[in-house]
């Protein structure tokens, strides 16, 4: 209680706030007072510039002396020596300049006044007056039709560029191509990337095959192939038929425990490439969506929502695995009209 009393008494006579003590006292550097230190700083700066010159010469020597031979090691050596030369050349200049500024140049701080950003009132008035004069000169205020016509012309003009651009920028704009892949009835399943057709007998228990449609080598070297392949890649797994849970509407889509699923993740389209034999789980390495191959490739973890589309398969007369048809739904990530 007595504390409070004394503090109120003391309030009188004290300013509300502390006052700015002003700039702290300037402290001299050693180089300012000792001529020897000043000379030393000068020598250091000169030495740093000297290092830069040596760096430049070094990089030139490296350039001419070390010819990359096409091997990774040779390229690395050339990279290292050339790079170190350049680094020394640059760091020498940089450190010399900074050291010069810090040790030799005057370190007396200067004070500059600031002015408010806002223009003074008379300037503002003059500015408004000029705009008013301009508007009056143009006559725009009195001519509504003119205003409308000018705005319409300006607003419409970009169409002349936008329409031709938009019409071509999306290719043929035929987005229904998402629905179809290269798979069709009777097309053999082939290994990726060699393109060798796969016999059912080649697929041993727990084995995984990365599969592409069996198309001609010519097609595989064409420009369109990468886009087709991006939809058509399939993962083939054989498991114990007793482990396999098959939905009633998908019976007959597998062959003797061999199932084929689209390799394109239903999340955002990465290839689902990692198969774990024990759990029959397929993992997408991009965002870790996990699918259970034994149970219709349903999602068991991660950001994907839908199971991987299944490719119905059977064998042909020669024992090769073939597709019964294309996928029954679009592969890859979801999109708005996917079910249309």
């Amino acid at each position: 209680m007595s504390d409070e009393k004394s503090s109120t008494e003391l309030t009188s006579g004290h300013p509300e706030k502390f006052t700015d003590p002003g700039m702290p006292e300037h402290r001299q550097r050693r180089a300012d007072v000792e001529p020897a230190a000043s000379k030393r700083a000068e020598r250091q700066v000169a030495a740093l510039f000297g290092i830069s010159v040596i760096g430049t010469i070094g990089s030139m020597v490296a350039y001419f002396a070390i010819r990359p031979d096409g091997t990774t090691a040779g390229t690395r050596l050339s990279n290292l020596t050339l790079g170190l030369g350049i680094a020394f050349a640059l760091l020498g200049i940089g450190l010399a300049a900074v050291h010069w500024a810090k040790a030799i140049m005057s370190d007396h701080e200067v004070v500059e006044e600031r002015h408010e950003q806002r223009s003074p009132d008379d300037v503002r008035e003059a500015a408004v007056q000029k705009l008013d004069d301009g508007i009056a000169d143009s006559g725009i205020a009195r001519r509504g039709v003119l205003k409308g016509a000018a705005l319409s012309a300006l607003a419409l003009f970009p169409l002349t560029i936008a329409v031709p651009l938009v019409s071509s920028v999306g290719g043929d704009w035929n987005v229904s191509k998402f629905r179809h892949t290269r798979w069709e009835k009777g097309m053999r399943l082939a290994t990726d990337p060699t393109g060798r057709p796969i016999r059912a007998a080649d697929v041993t228990m727990g084995n995984v095959f990365h599969v592409i449609p069996d198309v001609s080598e010519e097609e595989r070297e064409s420009h369109e192939w990468i886009t087709e392949k991006a939809k058509a890649v399939v993962l083939l797994v054989r498991m114990d038929p007793r482990d396999l849970k098959e939905a009633p509407d998908r019976e007959g889509w597998s062959y003797d425990g061999i199932v084929a699923y689209s390799k394109i993740c239903t999340h955002v389209g990465c290839p689902v490439a990692l198969y774990e034999q024990q759990t029959h789980h397929l993992l997408c390495p991009c965002h870790q969506s996990t699918f259970d191959v034994a149970d219709g490739a349903k999602v068991v973890f991660g950001p994907a929502h839908r199971p991987l589309p299944q490719l119905p398969i059977e064998i042909d007369d020669e024992g090769y695995l073939v597709a019964q048809s294309d996928f029954h739904e679009p592969v890859g990530p979801s999109y708005w009209e996917r079910l249309k």
Partner: protein
């Protein structure tokens, strides 16, 4: 002027020639000795600027050899593993640049490291600006320009990363395609718009190339110009201290100090990046091979500034994908890839205006805040960074799993919880630390520094001698505004009629309370005098009496 050397005469002649034609003298008079304050944290923006220059120099070198084409060719030449392989011209020319152009690999590595440093410098520069309140009036618009520059930087990084057309960058584009397709109604058409047809098609590399070397850097260059022009107009902010006010700027003159320091610093930044390019391998695309839609490797991370998006995608559970009237709405992609970054960027864009509104502060500010003196702002900033870091870590969950032999699913679940709890906790603890530091400031101002010198009085009493603060240090610790929450006028006016706009005022006042309800006021001269008036025992003050009276600790946080 008695004797002039030929060099001086030539300089005088050139200056006279230019001045007669451009009036250069006025600009030199105005700017040559312009004052800039000195602080290491002001270098962060400079690092960003200089990395950008390095990007342009190394990027120019790379464009001389890169072929932005997806045409299929058979590669001939090193490395041996890629000889005879069918690939795009883009990938082939990247290999050619790396193995056959001398200094080509160095320039590629310098370019990539400079890009990583560019974004790191931008982000840390933004942190400096945020935590010191440098975005306050009159610099709000420059904060917006800076935020746009950060987003353009992300765009530059993304478009450049995809150019070599290797497996990793191709999968990055594949993810982009998946995200674009998730956009309601127009998703498929947007995908066609970007790729010129189906993914990947043959157009995306040339399109990204044009964006990467013309459109994005052009915009960056223009906005950097605006950014720096505004720095000149506003004059640089300064840290608080004796003699530094909102009406002046204390520092060193541009010429010669900053010409040497800043010019030299460019060479230091370039030199460090060159050192990185020389000694640290980055993006060895020949190990990955050309893009093929089938293979992908685990542990593939995007560049660090994109990790938060990757993590956001990884954390999202798959359930919220809905089908109605035959249409599909993929909220499991849309929320993490569009909504979350949208929220983060919106926060950055609106924050300066939000803070100005709840503070009702129309003054110009040129002296920076110490972060502790604005606890809620500092807390929000740390919460934002925490969210960013948690998302980035979630984008590396597979690496965490393999390095620490932990379950991937458990790590993902931990991050799913952390992304909600972490930022909140970070906010709470940061705000508390700030308030604690402010109390410590008060304690120091009132009672001085502990000296460790124990004195025994004649009556046997022991005290520790405290050394009072010198006036410079005291000024640093008392010179701040502790804003108070906005008070809202009654709902009805004097005649009992409901006032218009009462509801919005009350909302603003609530928000203002959130910001300024807990605060520690600076010590006043009267309080200091009162503390000293206790006589020789004042140095003995313990925590109980030094508890600042002005804290309203109403709400428990």
């Amino acid at each position: 002027m008695s004797t002039t050397t030929p060099a001086q005469r030539a300089a005088n002649g050139t200056a006279d020639y230019l001045d007669q034609r451009t009036g250069l003298g006025k600009a030199v008079k105005e700017f040559a000795r312009k004052t800039f304050p000195d602080h290491w944290s002001f270098l962060l923006g400079e690092i960003a600027l200089y990395s950008f220059v390095v990007l342009i120099i190394s990027g120019f070198f790379l464009t001389m050899f890169f072929v932005p084409s997806m045409a299929l060719i058979t590669h001939h030449g090193p490395p041996a593993t890629m000889d005879g392989v069918l690939m795009s011209e883009a990938f082939s020319s990247t290999l050619h640049t790396s193995f056959e152009v001398r200094g080509g690999l160095l320039m590629r590595q310098i370019h990539h490291w400079a890009a990583l440093l560019f974004m790191a410098a931008i982000v840390t520069h933004m942190m400096r600006v945020f935590f010191t309140g440098a975005f306050r009036k009159p610099r709000e618009l420059n904060w917006l320009v800076g935020t746009l520059l950060m987003i353009l930087g992300l765009g530059a990084g993304f478009t450049g990363y995809s150019l070599p057309d290797d497996v990793l960058s191709g999968n990055g584009l594949r993810i982009t395609d998946g995200v674009i397709k998730s956009i309601p109604i127009i998703g498929s058409y947007m995908s066609y718009f970007v790729f010129g047809g189906e993914f990947p098609g043959e157009d995306i590399i040339p399109r990204l190339f044009t964006l990467h070397i013309l459109v994005v850097p052009g915009l960056i260059l223009a906005l950097v110009g605006v950014h720096l022009l505004m720095v000149v107009l506003h004059k640089h902010t300064q840290y608080p201290g004796g003699g530094r006010t909102d009406k002046n700027v204390v520092g060193f003159p541009l010429f010669p100090v900053y010409v040497a320091k800043a010019g030299g610093f460019f060479f230091v930044v370039f030199g460090v990046i060159a050192l990185m390019g020389a000694t640290m391998a980055i993006n060895n695309v020949w190990n990955y091979g050309p893009f093929d839609p089938s293979p992908v490797s685990a542990g593939a991370q995007p560049d660090w500034y994109m990790l938060f998006l990757e993590g956001s995608l990884r954390l999202m559970p798959g359930q919220p994908e809905f089908e109605f009237w035959g249409f599909t709405l993929s909220l499991n992609v849309l929320i993490p890839a569009v909504v979350i970054p949208g929220i983060l960027f919106t926060f950055l864009f609106v924050y300066p205006f939000l803070e100005a509104a709840v503070t009702k502060d129309k003054r110009e500010h040129h002296v920076l805040d110490r972060p502790r003196n604005v606890p809620v702002r500092t807390g929000l900033g740390v919460a934002f960074l925490t969210a960013f870091i948690i998302l980035a870590l979630a984008g590396s969950n597979d690496l965490i799993a393999t390095h620490f032999s932990m379950s991937l699913n458990q790590i993902t679940w931990a991050f799913r919880i952390l992304i909600f709890v972490g930022p909140w906790f970070a906010f709470w603890i940061t705000k508390r630390i700030c308030l604690g530091l402010q109390r410590k400031d008060r304690e120091l101002v009132l009672h001085g520094h502990e000296t460790g010198r124990i004195v025994r009085f004649a009556n046997g009493e022991y005290i520790e001698v405290h050394r009072p603060l010198d006036e410079q240090e005291r000024w640093l610790r008392v010179n701040y505004d502790a804003h108070r929450p906005l008070e809202v006028a009654p709902a009805t006016d004097s005649r009992g009629v409901r006032r218009k706009g009462y509801a919005s005022e009350r909302r603003l006042s609530r928000l203002s309370s959130f910001f300024y309800e807990d605060r520690v006021e600076p010590v006043t001269p009267a309080e200091l005098a009162a503390a000293h008036s206790h006589g020789s025992h004042d140095e003995l003050e313990t925590d109980t009496t030094s508890e600042p009276q002005q804290i309203d600790s109403g709400r428990a946080h």
